[in-house]
């Protein structure tokens, strides 16, 4: 039997289903049927409303998956020998999904970026307008790409650091597939105009409730696996993953409290309004950055970076101190998104103060990562995978510095509402989140599929430089446009009146918007190159692992491109 088969081919999926016990297969069919019924109920209640369309989408996906399970329903029971190995099938599928979402999300990003330079570069249809594509872009990269990467790597790291297998073989699938169902409902919803308009929390009430169910299961997997761990001490990477799971749950539930118009309407109204809503939203928004895009990915960094460098983390104690610093202080910083607004002054001041102190644990983490590489710099030079992670740590340090800087009131008065914020976000999203993810994925793919190395080291190198150059162009373009914008808005002439009209400031942005779209395009090309490389690695032959007695045939040739 082939172990490292493609997950998307018929063989791969059947093999993966055959790995489930009969009980788990039955459970899968029962749960899928229940969710399918839920979809049917949504379709019936919603009719022409978008929630009805979503009902049909849910129904179709569940029916498709039921057929997949039925396809191998009568396969023989998996051998008990499987319990001797970690359970990695969900991680494998998660990684493929990560790359698929990356390409989709980054393509949408390039598209919306181009629309700001050439506004008519779209179809005369509602779904293809900027306002609907933009949340599709942000959700596809944050939740589709980032979320899948977190789920896939967290299962991998959790098992290795606990030396324990996942508690069962059904719930990881429920989390992975359920989460992607959420992403699909979210993305298709935006095209239909379904949005709460809360930034990074756009999906409507029914998708939000579904995500809570998925998230509770995710948490349960973590707790159940940790309960069977070998060492009493929990490795610090899991601390970060745990904080990610727990705090995102708190943020998600509070910020999304809403009253639907009816069960047949996708539309709901937030229970918060005005200034309270603004505070709740940016408490959520800022901490989604903190705990989704930072804590989870720090977990990734604390495992894959030392692993790849072959050196233990520089200071384990420092990683714990910065953990509590980040967990405590980030939650205060959200109000720096609302400086000079109608939010009471004392909340603004608290937000600014904590944003500044936050630099300490952030730089402790970045420094800890870089210090780990001391003595391994020759590896960084030769190994693009490790270089991805090194560059990510550098961008993490830069972005957190910039974040604290932008939270200072006078700086914020200039930068807020401008492209500088967009540049800052992308320095973090491209430079930190995406680079650490790509680095981790280039580590994990050969390990999981039992390959000696990636299909092509040279393509990893190409990806690295496309990503770096794309990020730098993007960020510099946005720094320029943001600062110019901010200055033009507040320039006075000698008569004491404003010099520039808004339109003039907008025209001045044009060249930078072109540069930004180009930077994004390079980054997208890097992701496509990476996906190809990963695909070819998966398709290649497995190496003979000494402990896998079920792989008799010898590996024929070393991977091409080496």
């Amino acid at each position: 039997m082939r172990v490292g088969v493609l997950c998307s081919t018929k063989w791969g999926t059947l093999d993966m289903v055959a790995q489930l016990t009969t009980g788990e297969r039955q459970l899968a069919i029962v749960v899928l049927s229940l969710v399918a019924l839920l979809g049917l109920a949504m379709a019936a209640a919603g009719r022409a409303d978008p929630i009805g369309v979503h009902g049909f989408i849910v129904l179709a996906i569940c029916c498709g998956l039921i057929f997949v399970v039925l396809g191998a329903y009568y396969a023989p029971e998996p051998s008990p020998e499987r319990l001797e190995h970690y359970y990695d099938d969900p991680s494998k599928v998660g990684i493929v999904l990560t790359m698929a979402w990356a390409v989709v999300g980054m393509f949408l990003g390039v598209w919306v970026a181009s629309l700001l330079a050439w506004p008519d570069l779209t179809f005369d249809a509602a779904w293809a307008s900027f306002g609907r594509l933009r949340p599709a872009h942000t959700s596809a990269v944050i939740f589709g790409f980032g979320g899948n990467a977190l789920i896939a790597t967290s299962f991998h790291v959790l098992q290795r650091t606990s030396r324990a297998r996942l508690p069962d073989q059904f719930s990881p699938w429920f989390v992975l597939i359920g989460y992607n169902l959420f992403c699909v409902v979210a993305a298709t919803g935006y095209f239909m105009g379904v949005t709460q308009s809360k930034e990074y929390a756009e999906p409507e009430w029914y998708a939000d409730i579904w995500l809570v169910v998925v998230w509770v299961t995710y948490f349960a997997i973590y707790i159940r696996t940790l309960a069977r761990r070998k060492e009493p001490h929990i490795y610090v990477a899991n601390w970060y993953y745990m904080a990610f799971i727990l705090v995102v749950a708190i943020l998600h539930i509070v910020n999304n409290l809403a009253v639907p118009v009816s069960f047949g309407h996708a539309k709901s109204y937030s229970v918060f309004s005005g200034v309270q809503d603004a505070m709740v939203q940016w408490w959520y928004g800022h901490n989604a950055v903190a705990f989704f895009l930072t804590a989870g990915f720090l977990g990734m960094m604390y495992y894959y970076l030392p692993k790849r460098a072959g050196r233990p983390i520089y200071s384990y104690r420092l990683s714990i101190i910065s953990f509590w610093g980040i967990t405590f202080m980030y939650m205060w910083a959200g109000s720096h998104h609302l400086l000079y607004t109608a939010l009471p002054q004392w909340v603004q001041t608290l937000g600014m103060t904590f944003s500044l102190i936050l630099l300490v644990p952030s730089w402790a983490s970045a420094g800890n990562a870089l210090a780990t590489l001391n003595g391994a710099w020759h590896k960084v030079r030769d190994d693009a995978t490790l270089r991805f992670m090194m560059a990510a740590a550098v961008f993490y340090g830069l972005t957190t510095f910039e974040g604290s800087f932008l939270a200072i009131r006078p700086v914020n008065s200039l930068s807020h509402y401008t492209d500088w914020t967009v540049g800052h976000v992308h320095a973090g999203a491209l430079g930190w989140v995406a680079l650490i993810t790509f680095g981790s994925i280039y580590c994990i793919v050969p390990w999981l599929w039992k390959r000696e190395r990636m299909y092509s080291a040279r393509l990893v190198e190409v990806h690295f430089w496309l990503a770096i150059i794309g990020t730098v162009i993007y960020v510099f373009a946005m720094w320029n446009s943001g600062i110019i914008q901010g200055l033009m808005w507040r320039t006075y002439n000698e008569n004491g009146t404003l010099t520039y009209s808004f339109v003039e400031s907008m025209v001045a942005m044009h060249p930078y918007y072109i540069a930004r779209a180009f930077g994004g395009l390079l980054f997208l090309m890097g992701a496509i190159v990476g996906s190809y490389n990963i695909w070819m690695t998966i398709r290649g032959e497995a190496e003979v692992a000494p402990e896998s007695a079920d792989l008799p045939e010898p590996r024929l040739a070393s991977a091409p491109g080496e």
């Binding site: 060492e231 030392p306 384990y316």
Partner: protein
């Protein structure tokens, strides 16, 4: 509890600060507690081991 502006300012300026310090001290004690040193060291090294199997 009646939250008015003074209560909150009072809390942040007094207990808020103590709370922050207490938390920092707590974390530092945990981190530098001698008997914890060994498990930290083990955790740091263990992830580099190559055995790719559950322990039981």
């Amino acid at each position: 509890m009646n939250f008015d502006h003074d209560t909150v300012v009072g809390f942040t300026k007094s207990w808020g600060l103590f709370y922050l310090i207490a938390m920092a001290v707590g974390v530092l004690i945990y981190v530098f507690w001698p008997s914890n040193l060994e498990r930290f060291h083990a955790a740091k090294k263990n992830i580099l081991d190559e055995d790719d199997k559950p322990w039981k």
